[in-house]
């Protein structure tokens, strides 16, 4: 009930992010050079390949879990790593600065999605209705005071009756 995403949509999105993780991870693992070239990170192929393994693991996690929430937070922290790595590429003098900048924008976009999704699936203890709404839910046609004993036509079956000696009230005057 929080944020712009309904939990139902968020679960769909979590699946999508799972596939995205696996796709991106495979490219990073299988063709790290293409990734480093596109993002201005040449020379960091090993690092990118290891990020790829992380993406694949998170993706599998997201697609197979009952509860995607921890995996989504995993993605968010991965995003932070990516942002950090790409931000390093923004240093003045890096000839590939523009590419790093574009990649950074893309990663920030995905981060926003990851975050929205994780937040939408966050369990909420807060009742969606105010307490006063629960206080109105009596199920009774009249105020409780007026309903006391409304079912006293009911005859308690013999096998459910308390033995006379244990019955309340006790004889008059004893309490």
């Amino acid at each position: 009930m929080s944020g712009p995403l309904q939990p139902r949509q968020a679960r769909g999105l979590a699946q999508g992010l799972g596939w995205f993780s696996i796709g991106l991870g495979l490219v990073e693992v299988l063709a790290p050079h293409r990734v480093t070239r596109a993002t201005g990170l040449e020379g960091h192929e090993r690092l990118v390949a290891s990020y790829g393994l992380r993406e694949i693991a998170t993706g599998i996690g997201l697609l197979t879990t009952r509860d995607p929430q921890p995996w989504l937070w995993g993605r968010v922290s991965g995003d932070v790593l990516d942002v950090g790595t790409l931000a390093a590429g923004l240093r003045p003098g890096n000839p590939e600065r523009d590419r790093s900048g574009m990649a950074l924008l893309a990663v920030l976009g995905v981060t926003a999605l990851d975050l929205a999704c994780a937040l939408a699936l966050r369990p909420s203890r807060k009742p969606p209705l105010p307490l006063s709404a629960y206080r109105r839910r009596s199920g009774l046609p009249r105020p409780p005071g007026a309903m006391r004993g409304a079912a006293s036509d009911f005859v308690v079956p013999a096998d459910f009756r308390t033995p006379d000696a244990l019955r309340w009230p006790a004889p008059a005057g004893s309490r």
């Binding site: 909420s124 203890r125 807060k126 969606p128 009774l140 409780p144 009911f154 308690v156 308390t162």
Partner: protein, 389 residues
Amino acid sequence: MRALRWHGKQDIRCDTVPDPKIEHPRDAIIKVTSCAICGSDLHLYDGFMPGMENGDIMGHETMGIVEEVGSDVSNLKKGDRVVIPFTIFCGECDQCRRGNFSVCERSNRNKSVADKVFGHTTAGLFGYTHLTGGYPGGQAEYLRVPFADKTHIKVPGGIPDETLLFLSDIFPTGWQAAVQCDIQRDDTVAIWGCGPVGQFAIRSALLLGAKQVIAIDRVPERLAMAEAGGATVIDFSKDSVVERLNELTRGKGPEKCIDCVGLEAHATATIDSMYDRAKQAVMLETDRPHVLREMMYVCRPAGTLSIPGVYGGLLDKVPFGMAMNKGLTFRMGQTHVNRWTDDLLRRIEQGQIDPSFVITHKVGLEEGPNMYKTFRDKLDGCIKVVLKP
């Protein structure tokens, strides 16, 4: 069809499974229009109930339309609208003839196992452990109902599902809990637990004429709903239950105590609850009978303890000597649903109560697995979940 199946502790999934078929001439197949998640399902979800098997279909609060009947079922026909009681009963054995349907001697198809484990078998139950027959449950698109000529409650059209569905379990369960107290006009009835069963116990005790109904829980919205039903409430996370109950009964204690919590009771900072917790931590956990202990302690001598709350196995540190010396009466059991439902249906039709008040969530079957967690953890203000297959 789709059905919610148990795959292990905290692992319920919406799976596709074969449709049920008539297996016996007394069977019927029901097309489910509404079903609900019960506190008893939570004990299975949390893995407290022995005898569950991977792939068991959950659910025992079910209603729908008759789709097909076996050759021996003459009092039902395709198109009839029925609520299905969670207790399966034959209607003919010694117990059934006395109205003790939840201990029917013939409806448990695993009778021989139950005879060994319980001493003597109890009735078959839908969507529950294999000790009670392991019958596939009703959180599904279709349900096979054994002994269907008896195991049904025919309901009229024109009343919404939401108002009738709880005849399957929690309304008669709250009712039987109060009836077990044989309530007198001067009685104070204290009710532990303001979940769905507690809510119906509160209203039943009121309708049956209790002088004072006191309800105990710690979840604000459940306490608010208890107040709506006429109860004086105690938040056990804030106040001492024993002190408050004594205050409200001029030091005498409530004459009648009802346990609508069962084996997963919580407690705040009492010695016995820490003991239960410690056992849980070292995986020696059994049932947590905190509420039972508290009821035994606070109940007025010669009073009655009514226990609809479910227990699974062995209970530890139960002060039985105290209960014996106070001369307490214990009444307990799974509900003999059909024993009460004609009367309760009439009360619904007369407008004495509309059971739909307790519903907070209505979702599709595929949302079911998430709803187990929402209901158990009381997230999102959840009190009762109805699923629409």
